[in-house]
């Protein structure tokens, strides 16, 4: 693999291919699936752009990783794990209030919301405030 960005593009394409294969074997694509695919594509594009920007900075000699960025990553991971309990709790409450969800919707939605929580916390700690 030549670079991180080409690895990110390849991962995104394989993921999309996997999703389309999965849905084509499960009775075609519905609106919910289009939404999920769009979310995956958006996340993938975001990750690819971020990786590409980092690589460009590295080529210019700008430092992209240091002790603070590592700490922020760890803290974001720990906080998003903590908040993930509430995400699962929301899904349980949805069931209580009569909104029926399929297993894959719960798992998929849970993973998506957790990764979004991680990204939002990481962005906040990186740009707004980092207090020890």
């Amino acid at each position: 693999m030549k670079s991180k960005s080409s690895f990110a593009v390849l991962t995104l394409l394989s993921l999309l291919f996997g999703v389309f294969v999965f849905f084509s074997f499960n009775g075609g694509v519905r609106t919910v699936e289009i939404v999920i695919i769009s979310m995956i594509v958006l996340l993938g594009i975001g990750v690819t752009i971020n990786t590409y920007a980092k690589e460009k900075k590295q080529k210019k000699g700008i430092i992209v990783e240091d002790e603070l960025s590592e700490k922020i990553k760890t803290k974001s991971g720990s906080l998003s794990f903590h908040y993930s309990y509430f995400v699962w709790l929301i899904f349980i409450y949805l069931e209580v209030f009569g909104i029926e969800l399929e297993t894959w919707e719960i798992i998929g939605g849970g993973f998506f919301l957790n990764s979004m929580t991680f990204l939002i916390i990481k962005w906040y700690l990186n740009n707004k405030s980092y207090e020890e």
Binding site: G61, E67, E131
Partner: protein
């Protein structure tokens, strides 16, 4: 823990970018340090002090517990 990084940086005519390259961290880390929002590792504190030719105690003010 408070520090005099901003004061010393301006005195020595360094930009945040230049200082970050000298000590091997991102510019954002210097921003957080200057705002007293981040306590650096001992190694980073040592490197910053070395750039300004000062001792760690001269750059960083430790508060009594």
């Amino acid at each position: 823990m408070k520090n005099k990084i901003k004061l010393l940086r301006v005195e020595n005519n360094y930009t945040q970018e230049e200082l970050s390259k000298l000590v091997g961290v991102r510019r954002e880390t210097i921003v957080f340090l200057e705002k007293n929002q981040y306590n650096p590792s001992l190694l980073l504190a040592y490197n910053i002090s070395k750039v300004f030719n000062k001792s760690i105690e001269e750059v960083f003010q430790f508060e009594d517990v």
